[in-house]
């Protein structure tokens, strides 16, 4: 029972981890807490859905199309909206991403209606594997596997490619990066693209265990945000760990203490953690200067 809970916790936690990762990537480069992350993932999932059911493309192409769409969407949002704000404060940025979130949600709701749809993609939730008395669905395995592979790829990307290095440089010191010939604006746009891509993967895996509607990614967004804050917002490894932790704690709490307050526990944890460590568990706390 306990192992079972841990495994399903890790499975849902890997989705939180991906969302947290996506938000941390953006926060590190452009200091924007991206409230639109969930909706960007949601509309990408809808694109996959439309490609598969309305336009009758095979599944692989539909998924690739959705991921490509998410990449472009991220770049376009940075270019059209975020870049246009002059000297924004953090409140301005939060408000702006909330605005973008409302726009995307409105468009998706207008296009596909508010009623819930079943996403036929990957009917794996019902196929189970038994390890002793632990039962795992194919979907769980695929979710955990894909997220691990994606995280590994991201790590390699950030550490070993020119673009990744430029992104890290921009994160560390924007002015210095600019002086060294890095086009900071372009890097930021690409960061948004990559982050949107990571979020879209989470969305594609979340849709089969939920129902596809414009509010699909509300919960993962908030949990992912919570996980990112838990991990410290500026530490990618911390965000991933925070995601897994949150998934496991939530599952254990739901099983042993109270199923009713399962989704409330995340916020209680956040407030408690922030009370003692104002910058999250794994990030250094910097005192801001005048």
């Amino acid at each position: 029972m306990f192992t079972q809970l841990i495994i399903t916790g890790i499975s849902i936690g890997s989705l939180y981890a991906l969302m947290a990762l996506a938000m941390s990537i953006i926060y590190k480069t452009s200091h924007t807490p991206n409230f639109a992350q969930g909706e960007m993932a949601m509309i990408s999932t809808f694109v996959a859905f439309a490609l598969q059911t309305t336009y009758q493309f095979p599944l692989g192409i539909a998924l690739l199309g959705a991921l490509l769409f998410s990449l472009i969407l991220g770049v376009v949002i940075e270019f059209c909206f975020l870049r246009r704000a002059k000297n924004p404060t953090i409140v301005d940025l939060i408000v702006m991403t909330i605005g973008i979130q409302l726009i995307i949600q409105g468009i998706a709701g207008w296009k596909w209606g508010a009623e819930q749809k079943d996403f036929p993609f990957l009917d794996l939730d019902s196929q189970l594997v038994h390890f002793g008395d632990v039962v795992i669905s194919h979907l769980n395995i695929l979710t955990i596997g894909t997220s691990l592979v994606l995280m590994l790829l991201l790590y390699l990307f950030f550490q070993h490619t020119r673009m990744g290095t430029a992104m890290r440089a921009t994160q560390q010191n924007e002015v210095a990066a600019k002086i060294n010939g890095i086009r900071v604006n372009r890097i930021k746009a690409f960061t948004w693209g990559i982050s949107s891509f990571v979020g879209a993967v989470a969305g594609l895996f979340f849709a089969p265990i939920s129902t596809l509607d414009p509010y699909l990614m509300w919960e993962p967004l908030i949990k992912g945000f919570a996980a990112a804050v838990l991990g410290g917002m500026t530490s990618l490894g911390g965000a991933v760990l925070g995601g897994y932790l949150l998934g496991i704690i939530e599952n254990l709490f739901g099983a042993y203490i109270s199923l009713e307050f399962k989704s409330t526990v995340a916020f209680v944890i956040i407030v408690l953690v922030l009370w003692f460590r104002p910058s999250g568990l794994f990030a250094k706390h910097y005192q801001r200067k005048v």
């Binding site: 605005g99 949600q105 409105g106 468009i107 207008w110 908030i222 407030v271």
Partner: protein
């Protein structure tokens, strides 16, 4: 240009003769408005007045102190439930219950303000957001609060009088809204307000000048929560019932939109913002019945989108408003108003 001779002249509530005159006109028109308008319009005005109260409180936190709250629906809910429950179970008279409910909300604001002392930016956003969602979820699951079904509003008794109907409730809500507006104006133009503004502009510098940051930040949270609580308490009687599903993140975001659209850091801004956004919130639901725009939208829905999803257009519009406010006019409606005023004052130069 007449010179100001001392600080009292500077902080005067109504500085000039015309200002006093227009204030009088405002008070008189507020008194006669309900007799001139149909019931539904009065209901709408009541709704606006409540949102003005909440927006003013949120503005003190967001506009003047520079903090952010995505959890004001939580305080609103606390105020609403506290008022209703105090009146139903303890049969406390309305006004006392309302004030106590406001103080309870304020106490929660103070508690949320404590961790917020060390938080900033996204951390504060997620903490307040979490608070708001936790309040709604807890209310929905505790039997005392009526669960998902919510509770009915008790009868609104003021001494021997029973107030019912939108027009009578107007005379309860509007004086409270007017009084709280004056109170907000007084808070921001005196010592407290200057301390809050100093914290917004630079908290380290403010601290160096002797502003007690811990005290004023938690105070800002408490005041702001008190306003939201009072708004919630009044909302019970406008709607006639309350249920926890209404107090969601969207509601908190709408309060924030009111403050930002109106103009953060301006009392007049909050009033304008609350009026405009409340109007849009109510009217956008029936946008397809507007003559030309409605037909065009239905045409768009049929060709590219779906007819059943048309109500979602309000989300798009609010989103566009938020984004354009940040990009084009950070001062909101108040900024536009200021610019028009200055343009005419200096005309023809």
């Amino acid at each position: 240009m007449n010179m100001k001779r001392d600080i009292y002249e500077d902080v005067q509530l109504l500085k000039t003769g015309p200002a006093r005159f227009w204030m009088l006109v405002l008070v008189i028109s507020l008194l006669i408005i309900p007799f001139m308008l149909p019931n539904y319009s009065v209901y709408l005005i009541n709704y606006m007045a409540i949102n003005i109260i909440v927006a003013l409180g949120l503005n003190i936190l967001v506009g003047y102190t520079g903090q952010i709250s995505l959890g004001h629906a939580g305080f609103f809910a606390i105020g609403a439930y506290a008022t209703a429950l105090l009146m139903i179970h303890l049969s406390i008279p309305f006004l006392l219950a309302l004030v106590v409910a406001g103080l309870i909300a304020g106490a929660f604001g103070f508690l949320l303000g404590l961790p917020a002392l060390r938080l900033e930016g996204p951390y504060l956003a997620i903490a307040t957001l979490g608070f708001g969602m936790a309040v709604a979820q807890i209310i929905a699951r505790v039997p005392l609060f009526g669960g998902h079904m919510g509770i009915e509003a008790p009868a609104l008794d003021l001494g021997p009088l029973t107030v019912k109907g939108d027009k009578q409730i107007y005379f309860v809500i509007m004086p409270i809204a007017f009084f709280l507006t004056l109170a907000a104006r007084n808070i921001v133009r005196t010592r407290v307000g200057r301390a809050l503004t100093a914290i917004r502009d630079s908290d380290v510098a403010a601290e160096a000048l002797g502003v007690n940051i811990a005290y004023y930040k938690t105070l800002a949270f408490a005041i702001s929560a008190f306003y939201a609580g009072i708004g919630g308490g009044l909302m019970v009687f406008v709607l006639g019932f309350i249920n926890p599903n209404a107090f969601d993140l969207i509601m908190s975001i709408m309060f924030l939109i009111m403050v930002l659209v109106g103009g953060p850091g301006a009392i007049l801004g909050s009033i304008l913002g609350a009026i405009v956004i409340t109007f849009l919130m109510v009217k956008l639901d029936t946008i397809q019945t507007v003559p030309i725009i409605g037909d065009f939208l239905i045409f768009l829905s049929d060709t590219f989108f779906s007819r059943s999803g048309l109500p979602n257009i309000s989300n798009i519009i609010f989103g566009v408003i938020l984004v354009s406010i940040i990009i084009f006019e950070r001062m909101g409606l108040y900024g536009i108003w200021l610019r028009i005023k200055i343009y005419w004052r200096t005309w023809p130069f």
